[in-house]
């Protein structure tokens, strides 16, 4: 079985590389600094939400509330942004954390199925976001450096010479590295931590054990309820972070944004090869899955830019759905042949 899991994650990585290769071969500017940084900046929010979802799904649960929690935290962060970067950030994170704690409580203490519990908090978070914002987007402050969380980078700190004509390859690497958007740094850091937590801590092993068999884990004396509680708290926290980035990237708290994020996140996790039944999964593969689904959109834009065909933005969802279909059928085949072997 580990082989199967590894092969699913590997397949996603291969597909990502193939698409990037295809883009680089077909379109000018696909591998440009600008395009890479745009893709990373925009998809960092989805990557964060996907990471939380990955942990939740590994315990065999699901978190439908991530989109509206992100919307709520973007509103809170935007309200607090005039006081500076830190208050905005902390406010947004606190909103996400609160939602996560409520989810965790309902699921682990009241024993309500995750699907229904998080459906309810999804509605509630959306309601609170609309109430707080009076159903309008809340402009974030440009006077403080809050916007850096969504739009900034460290390019200012780059040494003079890398921007010159003769910077060479090494210079370009440093330039891109420092030009990395701050939200992408946040996402990378979160994935690094997430990977450590999953593979190197007791909690990470508990997550997989609970997903593999909740009752068996309980009988073995593992703290199942606490583990389940914590994954939802984590998912809420990461959704909160995504909300802060959302507010900073678009310059406003968006109470009605985040619709469908949860399903996009689930799709990324599945494309990355994490089994929805829980018990198995990989943090890195989820990142690959997010980038894969995100990059399809970029490819579509570039294809339209070629002028040969004009596919409306609506094709994006058809393509994503078709892509998910292929992955799901392949996974089903793999699972069956693994079971037969």
């Amino acid at each position: 079985m580990p082989r199967l899991h590894a092969s699913a994650g590997f397949g996603a990585l291969l597909a990502l590389l193939l698409i990037i290769g295809f883009g680089a071969w077909r379109y000018d500017g696909f591998i440009s600094e600008y395009n890479i940084l745009t893709v990373l900046r925009y998809n960092s929010m989805f990557a964060l939400v996907g990471l939380g979802m990955c942990f939740v799904i590994m315990t065999g649960g699901i978190d439908l509330s991530v989109g509206s929690v992100a919307a709520l935290s973007s509103v809170v962060a935007a309200y607090l942004s005039p006081y500076g970067l830190i208050p905005g950030l902390l406010g947004g994170l606190a909103a996400g954390l609160a939602a996560g704690i409520i989810n965790g409580f309902i699921i682990s203490k009241m024993k309500i199925l995750p699907f229904i519990a998080t459906l309810a908090t999804m509605l509630a978070a959306s309601g609170v976001a609309l109430l707080l914002s009076n159903q309008q987007s809340v402009p974030a402050s440009y006077d403080t450096n809050f916007m850096a969380l969504g739009q900034g980078d460290f390019a200012l700190y780059a040494p003079e010479w890398v921007n010159g004509e003769d910077a060479g390859f090494f210079g370009a690497v440093i330039r891109i590295f420092l030009g990395f958007p701050i939200p992408a740094w946040i996402a990378l850091f979160a994935y690094f931590l997430g990977s450590l937590i999953l593979n190197r801590t007791a909690f990470g092993r508990h997550v997989l054990a609970v997903g593999g068999g909740e009752e068996a884990s309980r009988l073995m004396g593992l703290p199942t309820d606490r583990t389940i509680f914590l994954v939802y708290v984590m998912s809420g926290f990461l959704a909160g972070m995504a909300g802060v980035i959302l507010a900073a990237q678009f310059g406003a708290g968006q109470p009605i944004e985040g619709v469908g994020w949860e399903l996009f996140a689930i799709a990324s996790v599945v494309v990355g090869g994490t089994l929805l039944t829980g018990g198995k999964g990989s943090v890195g593969a989820t990142l690959v899955g997010t980038l894969l689904l995100g990059i399809l959109f970029t490819v579509l834009n570039f294809e339209n830019g070629m002028g040969w065909i004009s596919l409306s933005a609506y094709w994006q969802s058809v393509l994503r759905g078709g892509f998910l279909l292929v992955v799901v059928i392949l996974q089903s085949r793999l699972t069956r042949s693994a079971a037969a072997a």
Partner: protein, 340 residues
Amino acid sequence: MSSTTQNAPSPVPGSVGSRPRGGIAAVLSRRHIGTIAALVALLIFNFIFTPHFATMQTLSVNLTQVCVIVIVGVGMTMVIATGGIDLSVGSIMAIAGAFAPQIFQGTLFPVPNLYTGIALAIVLSITVAGFFGLFNGWLVSSFRVQPIIATLILYIAGRGIAQVWTNGDLQVFKVPEFQQIAIGRVFGVPFQVWIMLALVLIAAWALQRTVFGRQVLAVGGNEQAAWLAGIPVRRVKRRVYVISGVCSGIAGLIVIAMNSAADANLIGMGIELDVIAAVAVGGTLLSGGRATIIGTLLGALIIQLVRYTLLANGVPDAAALVVKAGLIVLAVWLQRQDRA
């Protein structure tokens, strides 16, 4: 989701709760008491505190609000009864709703006259919706894809198909003959309410009294046992998704008939959550094996009445969302206590 095994009901369908009985008793069995009590309490509260509550107009408004949710809920209840879920209902509504006007307006192919066009539009759109349901069922039964993922595919792609098909344009029409299915009245009650009631009664009867209905519950109660007992598990699963697709198709037609316009971007947007909430509040087990169509109707009515009560008494819609969330958690929690 991994906790489904521990609260799975007895593998023998029908052995939980009361056995099927005749008449009203079967329809309103004991397990509806809590739901009905909540509904009655809401009604009494409204009779006392909400002005102009006891009017035909209020009744009409509230019933038309729940119609679409209940119609989709009939199919959803069947799917959930097998232990599945159907997230694609809203997208299938959009497909049916985007497809139908093109037929009765004759833009897709020439139709001899309006009535033939309308008949074709209704039949073809619902058939197409049924085929999309079959696609879901095929993924779930033949590829053993988890229902939430299988239907997620059409949730994402289905609306896209409808949008691509119509180029995302709003199709406005004024065809009163077609719109009768939503706004026409029989005995003063909107026609769509009659459609809803007919579907609810047929489905409630089918679930309780037909072999197919018992098979649905058996598959949801314990799939392995059902298979060993010789129940065609895969066929049963395929069929419930087809039923869900057909119900979504009907709902899509009603929505466009009400609005006198079809907008692929909006038809059925987010309805899957309202429907699942109604099913859960109604007392259907989300892990499968125990289902009640009447409960879904009651659940949808309760959610709508709560919303109406709050709105009529000056509470904003956003706050109603929070209340709705609390209601869902409370209802499901109470059901848990009841079982324990």
